[in-house]
């Protein structure tokens, strides 16, 4: 059991040494602060505190940024080591492939957690200080941080999956970019197109919300929106959220990391260094 911790320790050290941790945290802080200040206009009209508006803006940001950061960190995990030639030796040690993957996941998730807490936390603190914060908006902030980490976790496992399937680190990077584009951008565009074509029929009413929530990025969005009245109000996305049972989005988002890890584990098993 301590084997995956040994891997995690070494991976964490590597993330600190190659400044990935510092860079990711800085990116999160910069974007979160910029959005908080840029998005502070509608507070008066909507009658919610500034932290709520800030959380809403940061939710939109996190849908793009959390998967991106996660994929950036994970695409190299298997393909990079195989290319460097260090994977073969590692696999001859009495640590199972599952343990190796779990160790990397623990370290990478830890790094993402630090970046999210510092980034969203500092922006939240600034918003609360300058525009006030209620108990509900604080809960929304914590929910945002937690769900962002989970969303990042999903894309970490998907990154390991493409890293195990790809023949080289470069190919893995390309596949990771493709994954990001599909899950975060194209999926929603496709759904939007389908809804427009359907014109408010059975698809839009019944099937659409379920397909939408099956995508972890949309599940993340829906969970944050449905969870907080203020956030829903200021984001204007109440419709889709209200069509689904309350458990749908959390269930989807929480199941995805396990699904992704299982897929990555299966792909990693077939890698011959």
């Amino acid at each position: 059991m301590t084997r995956f911790l040994a891997i995690a320790g070494a991976e964490m050290r590597i993330l600190k040494r190659n400044r990935w941790l510092a860079m990711a945290t800085m990116i999160m802080v910069l974007f979160a602060l910029a959005l908080t200040f840029a998005g502070s206009a509608p507070t008066g009209t909507l009658g919610v505190d500034m932290l709520t508006v800030s959380v809403t803006s940061m939710t939109t940001l996190s849908v793009y940024l959390a998967p991106l950061l996660a994929l950036m960190i994970s695409f190299d995990a298997v393909a990079g080591e195989a290319e460097r030639g260090s994977l073969g030796l590692l696999l001859t040690y009495p640590a199972g492939r599952g343990e190796i993957l779990l160790g990397k996941f623990a370290a990478h998730l830890g790094a993402l957690t630090i970046a999210m807490i510092v980034g969203f936390g500092s922006a939240g603190a600034v918003a609360a200080y300058s525009g006030g914060a209620g108990a509900a908006s604080l809960v929304a902030l914590f929910r945002l941080i937690f769900t962002s980490v989970v969303l990042g976790g999903v894309f970490l496992t998907l990154g390991y999956l493409v890293s195990s399937l790809a023949n080289s680190a470069t190919a893995a990077a390309g596949m990771a970019a493709g994954l990001w584009l599909i899950f975060v951008v194209l999926f929603d565009l496709g759904l939007l197109g389908a809804v427009v074509m359907d014109g408010g029929g059975w698809f839009t009413q019944t099937l659409f919300p379920w397909i939408m929530v099956a995508n972890p990025a949309d599940a993340f969005r829906l969970w944050n929106i449905a969870g907080s009245e203020g956030v829903a109000l200021s984001s204007g996305m109440v419709g889709a959220a209200s069509a689904l049972p309350i458990w749908a989005a959390p269930l989807s988002l929480l199941v995805w990391p396990f699904l992704g890890f299982g897929l990555a584990r299966a792909a990693f098993r077939r890698v011959e260094p």
Binding site: T2, R3, A6, I7, G9, A10, R13, I14, R17, N18, R84, G85, S86, G88, L89, L90, L91, T92, Y93, P94, A95, G96, E272, P273
Partner: protein
């Protein structure tokens, strides 16, 4: 049978339509050092990967101290030094060794271990700053972790200077003296000759030779070469010994190993007309060329 640490029986491996390992049987005993020779692509690395359990087999069996490759027990018993060993450049030598030690479930004295392979000064430097030879030494240090029963070394001396090579072979000798079975895949034939107990040669996925140097020489029927330097009359000596005059002062003749002593006695009888004599038994290079050749057997 019990001290057969590595026991390979009729191992086969296919890659697509190609059979890259064909009915390979090889055993290495405890304390034995075996050289595994062969051209690039002969199947040496594939054989090692099969023993490590990194690839699936398509026939035959491999046992390491009685365990199947890839199992936790087999991995714990095996140490591996890959060709052109590589580590993460951001870690220091000490950190990398600490990781391996924890993975192996060992608590060794890492400082002492790294001093033993000559990395005492580079303990806390990042591996990214190491030379190729230093990385190779670090790779060797991880082989020494936790007293392996079987050590698989793939081109261990590549990138090492002559002194480092000597050090490396001394460490290999120590390993073998402690009862470790050592299999060394290499192209450095002259080094292998002196430093191993037995020689296995692979060609196109098949094991074409597996014997001691003497046994291989006898089977190949390669002849020992004698070069006699004459004091004055080389032609006379050539006539008397049945050899070939190669220049004004020297005569060369090739003899079977069995005839060596008889021939030497005959030369001694020639007395003062012989000033010097060189005896060259068949070298591993000759044997390798013989066994690895396309049309042999």
């Amino acid at each position: 049978m019990t001290d057969r640490v590595l026991d390979i029986q009729s191992l086969c491996k296919d890659r697509g339509k190609n059979r890259v390992l064909n009915d390979v049987s090889l055993a290495v005993q405890s304390g034995e050092r075996v050289a595994l020779l062969g051209h690039n692509g002969a199947g040496k690395s594939t054989l090692i990967k099969a023993v490590l359990g990194l690839i699936t087999m398509d026939g035959g069996s491999v046992h390491i101290a009685g365990h199947t490759p890839g199992t936790a027990a087999a991995r714990a018993a095996t140490a591996f030094l890959p060709e052109a060993v590589s580590f993460h450049p951001a870690l220091t030598g000490r950190e990398q060794m600490a990781l391996f030690a924890r993975l192996a479930g060992q608590k060794p004295d890492i400082t002492q271990l790294l001093e033993r392979v000559g990395l005492g000064d580079a303990l806390d430097l990042r591996i990214g700053t190491y030379s190729k030879g230093m990385r190779q030494r670090l790779g060797l240090a991880q082989v020494l972790l936790g007293r392996p029963k079987l050590a698989l070394l793939d081109e261990p001396t590549s990138g090492l200077d002559p002194i480092s090579r000597q050090d490396l072979y001394e460490i290999i000798d120590e390993l073998a003296a402690e009862g470790c079975a050592v299999l060394i895949a290499s192209h450095a034939l002259t080094e292998m000759e002196a430093r191993t107990d037995r020689i296995a040669i692979m060609r196109k996925g098949q094991l074409v030779a597996n014997d001691t140097l003497q046994g291989l020489s006898a089977r190949a029927g390669l002849r020992t070469r004698l070069r006699i330097r004459a004091t004055e009359n080389a032609s006379a000596i050539a006539l008397q010994t049945g050899g070939q005059r190669i220049n004004g002062a020297s005569v060369e003749l090739e003899i079977d190993a069995a005839d060596k002593m008889r021939t030497l006695r005959k030369i001694t009888e020639l007395g003062d007309s012989v000033s010097d004599i060189d005896i060259t038994p068949p070298r591993l290079e000759d044997l390798y060329r013989y066994y690895a050749r396309e049309d042999s057997q």
